[in-house]
Symmetry: C2
Subunit: 960 residues, 2 copies
C-alpha cells in the first residue's frame, strides 16, 4: 500500500503484476509460468523495442472493384477513416467486441504463423504467405495479384491547409514516385520517433475463397514494404485476414481486433519474442486477461472514448517500462527524477539541517556552483526567446501596476520609476546569484500592505519616511541573515498546502479588494451628477470662467439664499466679464473658474468603470481561448499568454478613441526619484531621532517574518517535485540574496522585493520541456523545466531599459490597470484547491465532481476543513483591516500553528487527502496503520491505481 | 440500411439481432438455436418483467469482526459505496475484468442452482442454500449464523440534508424497527417504480471455507427477505459467492460481476425463464458475446465512465422491448408515437392535400374538435402553474420590449399599451381557436421591420398611417384566407432546416442589431463631453437659469466673438438675475435655461451602457447556471427560467439606486390609444385618397408572404416529430386564425401578431412530460408535451390585466430592455446548427467536435454549405437595409428556392446530413441508392447505430 503522492511519477516495478493473472482462466491456455509473459518481467531492463505504427488495409469494393484501402491506424489510440467525410477521426480508445477477439484467436491458431520470416520485399513476403497454403495455383495467382495491388492511403496534411484528401487522385495515377513522395511528406512521419517500425494488417472478404485465410508474419529484418503503409517505415509485423463474404463485415472487425492487439505494448513485447504459435496465443490470452469489459446495453459500443488525459496504469502491467523506454528523448538523467520521491515536500536533500552556521548556505552555493555554466548553456533554445517576451511583458505590467499602487500607498515617496528601476536591478541580481534562478522577484501584495502600514505610521508620527524605512530594511536584512545562518529555511517543510493556499488566497483577495476599491474611489474623485431635489447638493451644474477684465475689480460672487429654503443653489450673479469655458481652458486664458460645478468632470466615473470591466472581461476571455477549440494552437497560446497585454492595449485604444480625461498612469519624465528633492541614496537620519534606528527593529521583525513567509512559500511551490527540477533548490541562498537586495533597495529608496508566486510559475510554465514525438491522441509528456538563468536576466535588463518608455506609458488609464489587477487576483484565486472546496459548499452532493478527495473523506469533514480555513482567512483579513494590522505577519505564521492543531481534529488519513502531511505525521502514519482502513474499504483495487495520478499542482496559474 | 432521421425513436425489431451471434464462439457453449435467447426473440410482445434492484452485500472485517456491508448497488448503472467518505459514488457505467466473469462462470457451473425455490423467508432460503451442500454440520451452522447477520446499509437521504451516513449508528443498535423504518423511508424506494423486485448478491472471503461456495437462487414467489436489501422489495434473485481468502479481494470483484450480470436486462429476461444450469450459463455466454472490450493500457480500468446521455442501442439487442416495457408510465397511446415516423418533416397526415376548397381547414377543425374537451382537462396539473408564471413573464417582457420598439418604429402611432392589449386579445383568441394551442403569438422581428418600412413609406408620402395600415391588414387577411382555401400550407414540407435556420438567424440578427443600434443612438441623444481644443464645440460647459425678474425686461444674451478667433465660446454675459439651476428645475421655477450646455445630460450614455451590459451579462450568466453544478436543481431551474426577469429587476435596481435620468419606458397612464386624438376603431379613409385602399394590396402581398413564412416556419418547428405531440398540428387552422386576428388588430390599430418561435418553444419546454421513476444515473425519458389550451389562455388573460401595471413599468430603463433584447438574440442565435457550422470555420480540423455531420460529409463541402447560407443571409440583410427593403419577404421565400438549387451542388447523402431532404429528394434516394456508398465505407456497423440517435432539435432555445 502506498501513500498518495508518495510516488508522483510512473514507478515501474515488476512486483506489481495484476492479480487477475492468478485467477483460473476459463479461456484458452492461459499464460504458463515460464511463458513469454514471465520472461518479460524478468528481462525488464533489457529491451528498447521500437514504437510500432499499425495500419489496417481493408479490401473494399467486392465484388466489382476490389481495392485495398487504409481504413484505420493505430499507434496507441485508434484513428478511423471517415470514408464519407474523407478525414481521419479524432484519436480514440478502441473498443472491440469480445467474440471478434475470440474469432481472431481461432483464425490465428489455424492459420499460418511465420516468425522471423526472411523476406526482403513485399513480393517475397506475399510469395511466402501464399506459398505455404494449400491453395490451388490459380487461386494463388489471383491472391498474389490482389495483395500486390497498391492500397489507397488517406494522407492528411496537418500543415497550413486543413485537409488534402488524396484517394481520388491516387486512383487515377498509380505513380510510384508521387506515392513515395507523399509517403515521405506525411506529417505523421514527423510525429513518429526515429526507429519506429510498422505493422500492417490486411483484412477483407474475398468471394473466391472457400475457407478463411489467416497469416501472421514477423519479419526477421524489417523492410519498407513498398506502398503498403502510408508512412514508409520498415515493416516488422504483417497480418493477413481474408475469408469468404459473410454478413456484417466481420473481417473489418477482425482486422481492427488484430490491429488493436498489435498496438498493445505488452503484446508487442511478447510477439517480438515469440518462438512459436503457442507463445503467440499465450500473449493473446494475456491480453484478454487484462481487458476491461463494459456490459452491453449500458454503454453504446459505437461511442468513441476520448484518450484519457494521463495515460494510466501502464506501471501496473508487467512490461511497463516499454512505455517509458520507447521515447529516446527522455534525458539520461531521468533516472534521477525520483530524487524528490518523498511526497510533495520532497526537496529533502536541500532541507537537511547541517548543524553548522551558514551550513545550508554553503551547501546551496556548492551545489549551484556546479550547475553554473550549464545555467547559461541550457538557455540556448528558441523557447527561451518567447519566454523572455512573455515574462518581460508580465514583469512590466507588474512593475507599472505595483508602481502605481506604491505611489498611492506612500503618497508619492516611491513611484513607477522606482518600481522599474528596483525591479530591474533586484531581479537581475537575483537571477545571477540565486539558488533558484527561475524565480521572478517582484513587489508583492503583502509587502505592499506592510509598506502602506509603515508609511501611515511614519506619517501619523511625523517621521521622515525614507530614512525610517532604510533602518527597517537594515534590520530586516540582519534578521534574514540570522535566519540563513541558523538554517531556518528547513522549517519550510511545515508549510503544507493549507498554509500555501491560505496565503495565496489572501494575496489574491488583496489584489481583488484593491482593484475594486480603487475603482469605487473614482466615484468620489469624479462625482456623479444626479437630478432631483433630494440629491440637489451634488447636482450643481455649470461653472463660469471669470476674467479679471481690463482694469476692473474682481467681481464678487454673491451667494444669496433664495426665499425657497430648498433652493440653496440659486445665486444672484453679478458678473461682468465671464464665459462658459471649461476650467482648464479658462485657466489657460488667464481666467478663474468660478462656480460649484467647476470641479465636476462628467462621464469619467462610468467610463472608467466600463474600461475596468472591459479590460477585466477581455483578459478573462482571452485566457479561456487557450483551452477552447478555436484557432490553431499557436494562435491560442499567443492570445492566452498575452491576454493581459492585449487587454491593456484594448483599454488604451478605447480610452484614446473617446479621448476622455480619465486618470492616467503618472510616470516620471526624467530619471530622478519620484519624491522631489531627494538624492538617490537615502540618508540614514535626516529629521528622525537617532533612537528610531533601533526602534525600527520592531517593525523589521514583523517584516522579516512576512518576507520569510512570502519568499519561502513561493520557493516551496516552485521547487515542487511535480516540476521535476534537475538542478535542485536553494532555499538558504535565495533568502540570502533577498536579504542583500533588501539592504540595497532600502538604501536607494526602491521598493522591496521577494519572489512572486504567480509570475514565477508563469515563467516556469513558459519553459516547460515536453516530449515531441507522441502518438496521435497521446498528450505530450512533461519532461521538466528548462532551468537556466538567462531568461530572467534578459527580462530584467529589458525592464531596466523600459524606464525610458515613459512617453508611451503615460497613455495607460489607471482603470485599465485596475482591471488587470482584478484579473490577476481572480485568476490566482480560481486555481487553488481551497476554492474548489468552497464551491463544494454550494453544490448538492449528487452534482459534485468525482474528486479523489470526496471518495475518501466524508463530506462533512471536507466542509469542516474548508470552514476552518475560511475562518483563518477571515481573521487574517480582519487583522489586516484594523489598526493592529502591523502584527499581521505574525498571524500569517500562525497559519502553520493552526495547521498543526488540525491534527487533533482530523485523522492523518483525512489530512492526507485534504492537505499534505507535516514531517511528524509522515512518521506517524505507518504506526497508526493505513492498512486496516483500506482493507476494510471497498475501494482497494480502484484506489491503488488512482493514487498514482499526480495530484494537480496546487497553484498553476498562467497569469499575464 | 435506414436513413438517418427516418427513425427517431427506438424502433425495436426482432430482425436486428446482433451479427456477433452468428460467429463461432470460442467460449462456452454458445446460445443454441432454440435456447432461451431465441425464445426471447419470439416472445417479444408478451413479457412485462419488473425492474430489478440489485444490491451487493460484502463480507468485510475478516478475520476479527465479520459483518455484511452493502458496498454496491445497481439498477442500470453502478453506484459504489465510498467507504472512507461514507457516500454513494455517482452512478457510472460498471467495468469488469474479463477473468472475473470467467471465474464467475466456473463458480456458478460448479455451484448450487436453485430455480423456482419455494422459500418464504430469509431463514428458509438460507437453509435451502446451505442444506444441499456437502458441508459439515458445524460449518453449516457457522455459515447460517453468518448469513443471518443483518447487513449494514448506507442509506442516503437526498432530501434537505445532503447526506445522512448511518453505518456507525447502525453498528450500535441493530434495532429491527428502526431499520425497517429506514428501509421504508429510503429515498431510493420512491424512485423505483411499483412492482420492482430485488436481487441480492452476497460475496466475501471466509477463512473456514476450504472450497469456494457458489449459489444462484431464483425464488418462485419473491418475498422481502428481512433487512437483506436496503429497500424492502420482494427479492427474486439471490446469489451467494463465498470462498477462502485469496489475494486481491477477488470475491468483491466476483460479487460485482454477478451484480452487473443480474442488472443486464437481457440476462434478467433469460434468468427469469431459465429451467436449468445450462440455460443460465447460456445466458451468461450471451452476455459475454455482447460486452464491449477496452484494450488494456489505453484505458484506465478504474476510471468511472459517466452514464451516456441517451441510453444506446437497446433496440439492437434481441429483447429490446424490456427497456421500454418496464416503465409502466408509458402512455397507452405510445404505440401511436410512430405516427410521425417519416423523417423530421413528419406531419404528413396533416399535410396531405385534400384537393377541396378549405379542405385542409375542415380537416384541421374536425381533428382538433375531437381533442377540444381534453385540451382543458389535460391542463389540470401543477406543472401548468409554473409554466403559466414563466411564460407570462416572458410574454410581458416581450410585450414591453416590442411595444417600446414599435413606438420608436412608428413614431408613437402605436405603443406599449397597444402592445399589451393586442397581445392579450390576439393571444387568448388564438389559444382558444387555433390548431396548435401551444403556440404563443407575439410581435416578431420581421413583422416589426415591415411595419417600420410601411410607416416610413406613409410618412414620406404624407399618408395617414393607421387607415393605410388597416387596408393592408384587410388585404393580408384576404390573401391568407386564399392560402387557407387553396391548402397552401402543405408547401411547408419544402421548409427544411436550411430555411428555418436562415430565417431564425435573420430574426436573431435583427434583435442584436436593433439592441446595439438603440444603445449607440443614446450617445447622440446624450452626447459625451470630451475635453481638448479639437473637440471644443461639443465640450461646452454650463447652463444658466435666467429668471425674468420682478418687473424687469428679459435680459439679453450678447454673444460677442472675442478677438481670439479660436475662442468661439467665450461670451460676455450681461445677466442680472440668473442662477446655476439644472434645466428641469429652472423651468419648474419659471426660469429659462440659457447656454450651450443646457441640453447636455452628463453620465447618462455610459451609465446606460453599463446597464445594458449588466442586464445582458447577468441574463447570460443566469442562463448558464441552469447547466452548472451549483445549487439544487430546483433553484437552478428557477434562476435559469427567470433569467431575463431577474436581469430586468437587477437593472431597475441599479438604476433606482443611482437615480440618474436614464431614458425610461414610456407607458400610458390612461387606457386610451397612444396616438392622441384617435378612437380605438381606425376609420378606413380619413386623409387618404380612396384608391389607396386598392394600392394597399401590393404591400399586403409582400406582408402576406412574410406572415406565411414567419407563421409556418414556427409551426413546422413546433410540430416536429421529436416533440411527440399526440394531438396533431393544424397548419391550415392556425393560418386561418392569424388571418382573422390580422383583420381585428388592423381595425383597432393594434400590432400584428404571428407565432413566435422562441417563446413558443419555451412554452413547450415548460410543459415537458418526463418519466419519473428512473434508475440512478439514467436521464429521465421524454414522454411528450402536456398539450392543452389553458396555460396559454391564462397567460394572455394575465397579460391583459397587466395593462394596469403602468405605474410599475415606467421605472424600467430602456437600456435594460435593450440588454434583454440582445440576450434573446444571442440565445436564439447560439442554438442553431448554422452557428455550429460557422464555428467550424474557425476551428482547426483536429480540434473539431465529433459531430455526426463531420463523420459523413467532407469538411470542404460543409464549409461550402455554410458559406452559401452565409451569403444568403448577407443578401437578405443587405436588402433589408436598402430602400428595396420592402421586397425582403419575397427574398425570404427565395430561400426555399436556393435550398432547392443546392440539390445541383450537393448529393442527397450530403444534404441528408447537412440539412434535411425535400419531398422529391426523399423519393430520389432509393433510386440513386445509398447502399453502394455505405457498403464501400468503413463505417457500416458504427453508423447504423448512430443513425438512431435523434438529431438534436434544431432550435431549442429556452429564452426568458
Amino acid at each position: 500500500m502506498k501513500l498518495p503522492g508518495q510516488e508522483e511519477f510512473e514507478a515501474p516495478s515488476a512486483s506489481e503484476n495484476v492479480p487477475a493473472g492468478q485467477l483460473d482462466s476459463g479461456l484458452g491456455t492461459g499464460p504458463s509460468p515460464d511463458g513469454p509473459l514471465d520472461t518479460g518481467s524478468r528481462e525488464l531492463e533489457v529491451p528498447k523495442d521500437p514504437l510500432l505504427f499499425i495500419q489496417l488495409n481493408e479490401l473494399l469494393g467486392w465484388p466489382q472493384a476490389l481495392e485495398w484501402r487504409e481504413t484505420g491506424r493505430w499507434v496507441l489510440f485508434e484513428e478511423k477513416l471517415e470514408v464519407g467525410a474523407g478525414r481521419w477521426s479524432a484519436p480514440h480508445v478502441p473498443t472491440l467486441a469480445l467474440p471478434t477477439l475470440q474469432k481472431l484467436r481461432s483464425l490465428l491458431s489455424e492459420g499460418l504463423i511465420l516468425l522471423d520470416c526472411p523476406a526482403q520485399s513485399l513480393l517475397e513476403l506475399i510469395e511466402q504467405v501464399t506459398g505455404v497454403e494449400s491453395l490451388s495455383p490459380e487461386l494463388k495467382g489471383q491472391l498474389q495479384a490482389l495483395l500486390l495491388q497498391k492500397p489507397q492511403h488517406h494522407i492528411q496534411n496537418t500543415g497550413t491547409k486543413p485537409w488534402r484528401g488524396s484517394p481520388h487522385s491516387r486512383k487515377a495515377s498509380h505513380d510510384e514516385e508521387a506515392l513515395l513522395k507523399e509517403q515521405h511528406q506525411n506529417p505523421l512521419r514527423q510525429k513518429l520517433p526515429p526507429g519506429a517500425e510498422a505493422g500492417a494488417v490486411l483484412a477483407g472478404e474475398l468471394g473466391f475463397l472457400a475457407q478463411p485465410l489467416g497469416a501472421f508474419v514477423r519479419l526477421r529484418d524489417p523492410v519498407v514494404l513498398g506502398p503498403l503503409t502510408e508512412v514508409p517505415l520498415p515493416c516488422r509485423f504483417f497480418c493477413l485476414l481474408l475469408g469468404p463474404p459473410v454478413l456484417g463485415r466481420s473481417f473489418h472487425e477482425l482486422g481492427r481486433a488484430a490491429a488493436v492487439l498489435l498496438s498493445d505494448l505488452q503484446f508487442q513485447w511478447s510477439a517480438r519474442r515469440a518462438s512459436n504459435l503457442h507463445d503467440l496465443l499465450a500473449a493473446l490470452d494475456a491480453f484478454l486477461e487484462e481487458v476491461t469489459v463494459l456490459p452491453p446495453g449500458r454503454w453504446d459500443p459505437t461511442a468513441r472514448i476520448p484518450p484519457p488525459k494521463c495515460l494510466p496504469s501502464q506501471h501496473k502491467r508487467p512490461i511497463s517500462q516499454l512505455q517509458e523506454i520507447r521515447d529516446p528523448s527522455v534525458p539520461p538523467g531521468a533516472a534521477a527524477e525520483n530524487r524528490h520521491g518523498h511526497g510533495p515536500h520532497s526537496p529533502n536533500l536541500e532541507l537537511q539541517r547541517t548543524g553548522r552556521l551558514f551550513g545550508g548556505l554553503v551547501q546551496d552555493v556548492r551545489r549551484k556552483a556546479s550547475w553554473y555554466p550549464s545555467d547559461f548553456l541550457d538557455a540556448l533554445h528558441l523557447q527561451c526567446v518567447s519566454a523572455v517576451l512573455y515574462i518581460y511583458l508580465a514583469t512590466v505590467t507588474n512593475a507599472i501596476t505595483f508602481g502605481g499602487l506604491l505611489g498611492d500607498a506612500t503618497d508619492g515617496a516611491q513611484g513607477v520609476l522606482e518600481s522599474f528601476l528596483g525591479t530591474a536591478v533586484a531581479g537581475a541580481a537575483f537571477c545571477l546569484m540565486a539558488g533558484q534562478p527561475l524565480t521572478i522577484l517582484s513587489s508583492t501584495g503583502p509587502v505592499l500592505v506592510f509598506e502602506h502600514l509603515l508609511f501611515s505610521f511614519s506619517r501619523d508620527y511625523s517621521l521622515d519616511y525614507l530614512p525610517f524605512r532604510l533602518w527597517v530594511g537594515i534590520w530586516v536584512a540582519t534578521f534574514c541573515l540570522v535566519l540563513v545562518a541558523t538554517e531556518a529555511s528547513v522549517l519550510v517543510r511545515y508549510f503544507t498546502r493549507f498554509t500555501e493556499e491560505s496565503f495565496c488566497a489572501l494575496i489574491s483577495l488583496i489584489f481583488i479588494y484593491d482593484a475594486v476599491g480603487k475603482m469605487l474611489n473614482l466615484a468620489y474623485t469624479y462625482p456623479i451628477q444626479r437630478p432631483g431635489p433630494a440629491l440637489a447638493e451634488s447636482t450643481v451644474y455649470g461653472c463660469l470662467c471669470e476674467f479679471p477684465g481690463p482694469g476692473e475689480n474682481e467681481s464678487q460672487w454673491t451667494k444669496t439664499r433664495s426665499k425657497d429654503t430648498g433652493d440653496i443653489l440659486s445665486m444672484d450673479l453679478g458678473l461682468i466679464n465671464a464665459s462658459l469655458l471649461p476650467p482648464p481652458e479658462c485657466a489657460q486664458r488667464g481666467g478663474h473658474p468660478r462656480g460649484p460645478g467647476c470641479h465636476m468632470v462628467p462621464d469619467i466615473t462610468f467610463f472608467s468603470l466600463l474600461l475596468f470591466l472591459t479590460s477585466f472581461l477581455f483578459a478573462m476571455a482571452l485566457k479561456h481561448i487557450k483551452t477552447s477549440r478555436f484557432f490553431p494552437s499557436v494562435v491560442r497560446k499567443v492570445l492566452g499568454d498575452f491576454s493581459s497585454v492585449l487587454a491593456i492595449l484594448l483599454g488604451c485604444g478605447l480610452d484614446a478613441f473617446l479621448g476622455l480625461a480619465t486618470p492616467k498612469l503618472v510616470v516620471p519624465r526624467e530619471f530622478k526619484p519620484t519624491l522631489s528633492g531627494r538624492s538617490w541614496l537615502v540618508s540614514p537620519f535626516r529629521a528622525n531621532p537617532w533612537w528610531l534606528s533601533v526602534a525600527a527593529a520592531l517593525p523589521a521583525l514583523l517584516l522579516s517574518i512576512l518576507i520569510f513567509m512570502d519568499q519561502q512559500i513561493t520557493a516551496v511551490i516552485l521547487n515542487r517535485a511535480e516540476y521535476r527540477l534537475q538542478k535542485g533548490a536553494g532555499f538558504h541562498l535565495d533568502l540570502f540574496c533577498v536579504a542583500v537586495l533588501m539592504l540595497f533597495t532600502s538604501a536607494l529608496g526602491l521598493p522591496w522585493y521577494v519572489s512572486a508566486t504567480v509570475i514565477s510559475l508563469a515563467h516556469m510554465d513558459s519553459l516547460r520541456r515536453e516530449s515531441k514525438a507522441c502518438a496521435p491522441g497521446e498528450s505530450p509528456r512533461f519532461l521538466g523545466i528548462r532551468e537556466q538563468r538567462l531568461t530572467g536576466l534578459v527580462v530584467f535588463i529589458l525592464t531596466g531599459v523600459s524606464i525610458f518608455l515613459a512617453p508611451v506609458l503615460k497613455f495607460i488609464p489607471m482603470p485599465v490597470l485596475y482591471g488587470i489587477f482584478l484579473y490577476m487576483g481572480v485568476a490566482a484565486l480560481s486555481s487553488i484547491q481551497f476554492m474548489k472546496r468552497l464551491q463544494l459548499l454550494l453544490m448538492p452532493a449528487k452534482h459534485q465532481p468525482d474528486l479523489l478527495l470526496l471518495r475518501h473523506v466524508p463530506l462533512s469533514r471536507v466542509h469542516l476543513f474548508t470552514a476552518i480555513q475560511l475562518a483563518c482567512l477571515g481573521l487574517l483579513w480582519t487583522i489586516k483591516s484594523t489598526p493592529a494590522a502591523i502584527i499581521f505577519p505574525l498571524m500569517l505564521l500562525g497559519l502553520v500553528g493552526v495547521r498543526k492543531a488540525l491534527e487533533w481534529i482530523f485523522s492523518p488519513q483525512e489530512l492526507l487527502w485534504l492537505d499534505e502531511l507535516m514531517p511528524e505525521e509522515e512518521r506517524s502514519i505507518p504506526e497508526k496503520g493505513l492498512e486496516p482502513e483500506h482493507s476494510f474499504s471497498g475501494s482497494d483495487s480502484e484506489d491503488s491505481d488512482l493514487i498514482y495520478q499526480p495530484k494537480a499542482p496546487e497553484i498553476n496559474i498562467s497569469v499575464n
